[in-house]
Structures are given as C-alpha cells and as structure tokens.
C-alpha cells in the first residue's frame, strides 16, 4: 500500500448498493411475473379461440411494471376474414 492511498478518498458505497439492488430486483420481479404471464397467456388464448380463428404466433402478451402498478398488455392479430365461431 503506497502512502498516497491514505489520502485518496474512498468511494461511497451506498450508491453502488442502491444501483445493484435496483437492477437485481427489476430482474427478479420480472422472472416471478413470467410464470403468471404464461398461465394468463394460455387461458386468454383459450377464450379467444372459442370465438374467433387466429394465428397463435401473432399474439403478444407481456407484463410491464410502472411504479406501483403492473400493466398487462395483450396484442392479438385477428385477420379481417377470420372465421367467427359459434360460442
């Protein structure tokens, strides 16, 4: 250890802790929610499939977190000439 290191200002550690936590928790919360999204996806698709024909690959379901709330986004592409099914 050089004598100069005694004078060097030590870096503040709390901002590092804060940043690491924010990144980690955003990731962990998202992975917990992905289980829920998978369940919702299957059930929502089953309901739609009862009424109209659509391409399962043209469906986007995602969960976003914004402050205190989560937003569930469902995007289903239904062709204009899709066959309507009897309920």
């Amino acid at each position: 250890m050089s004598i100069f290191s005694l004078f060097r200002k030590q870096q503040r550690s709390a901002p590092m802790a804060r940043e690491r936590l924010q990144v980690l928790l955003a990731h962990e919360r998202a992975s917990l929610e992905s289980d829920l999204v998978a369940i919702l996806r299957e059930e929502i698709l089953a309901v739609i499939a009862k009424h109209v024909e659509f391409d399962r690959d043209k469906v986007e379901i995602k969960m976003d977190r914004d402050g205190d709330v989560s937003i569930l986004e469902i995007d289903v592409e239904i062709p204009l000439n899709a066959q309507r099914l009897a309920a």
Partner: protein, 271 residues
Amino acid sequence: MGKVIVVTSGKGGVGKTTSTAALGAALAQRNEKVVVVDFDVGLRNLDLVMGAERRVVYDLVNVIQGDAKLPQALIRDKRLDTLFLLPASQTRDKDNLTAEGVEQVITELKKYFDWIICDSPAGIERGATLAMRHADMAVVVTNPEVSSVRDSDRIIGLLDSKTLKAERGERMEKHLLLTRYDAARAQRGDMLKVDDVLEILSIPLLGIIPESMDVLRASNLGAPVTLADARSAPALAYFDAARRLAGENVPITIPGEKRGLLEKIFARRAA
C-alpha cells in the same frame, strides 16, 4: 375483534423478534390487550427476549394438538398486565404446525385480544407462510443492507400472493420498519438511506429504529426495549411506530440525523 399483525423479513437476524417484543410492549402500555405469538417452531426465542423463558409450560403446538387449552399456554407478562406471550415449541417437529390448527388458534385469540402480533421465522418456508397467512397487516423488518432489502422484496411478493387476504382479492397492508439505521453513516454515503430503501421497496414507512446498544442491553435483561429503557432512542422510535400502527398520525423523524456540529465532531472521534 383483534387485529392480526405479522412481523416478517425473509432474512434472519434483522430484528423481527426484538421488534415483535418492543411493539407488543409499546401497544400494551396503551392499555390495549396484546398477545405476541412465536411461530419459530424449533428455534423459539421470543420467550427469551421477553424474559419469560423459565415460565413456559405449554406452547403453540401443544394447543394445536389438543394437549393443552389456549389459556394454559398463554403467559402473562410480569410487568404489564395487558401483555401475553404464546410461545413456540422448542423440541417438536415443525410439521406439527398445521394450517387448520393455526387458523383455530388465531380465531380464538382474536376474540380476547386487541392485537395479535405474530413473530415469523426467517426464510420463506411453511413456518413463515403460516405466520403471515391470517394477517390483517404486515410489518416488514429491513436493515439498510443489500441482502436484507432483497429478501424483504421477496417477502412482499409472498404477502401479496400467499395470504388469506391476497387470496380473497383484498390488499394486504404492508409497512416498512427500518432497523439498525445509522444516520451518520447514511449521510456519509456508506449506508443505504431511508429514501433509497423506500424507493426500492415502495411500501409505506412505519418507523426507523436507530442502531443502538440499548437493544442488546434489553435482550440481555430479558425485557422488550420499550420496557427496559422507555426513554432510550430505539424505545422512542418503537413507541412512535406503535402509535402509527394504532392509526395515529405521527410525523416520521430520522433518529440521530439533526446533529449539531459539536456532536458530529465527537461522533467522528468515537467512531
């Protein structure tokens, strides 16, 4: 009907048992009937912190298994008439804690007490989920330290999904109790600040308990810190937290933050 509170954290050693005892004694000093319930089967410690370790005859598991009636297992505090302890068992297998049994005991306690404070074991296993299951409100005990904050976040997720309230589609009321806080270190940037933790966990603040020798002293003596030295800094912080729990509007102060220049100089020297 009594209010059920769970004191929980995920991480061990952050002050759940200390806080259960201190809040329980603080509420009982307002002449409200309080029972503190130890859910840490196999590793009970609330009896020791309350100074009742030599008075335990029957415990929570005895009551659940029908070996004892609830009033036989309740231990009345020697200092406060309105404070009771329901100890956990020390020797028995934790599988003896059944969901139905816990429900019966809590329902019974709600008839006789204003407050039922459940001291959760650490972790996210059955003991912890059973402790939170019947809660009306949760006190999440957190230290200003990365692993504790992470585990609290996990526990908040469980409170929002695994409790009866959550299953009924109701909102679980959650409150943050920040313990072992050192305002001087936070000001220097060496410890997460109150606002950092609040921003990350985004639940309302119940209180800030300063890091203090008085907490260890109280547990050495076997008394909740709000009884051992009611005028100490942590005791005052716990009294304020208890008043907020009871619905009073008490402004939050950060213990030890507003120091004069002289005090700061002396604090640095001591450190």
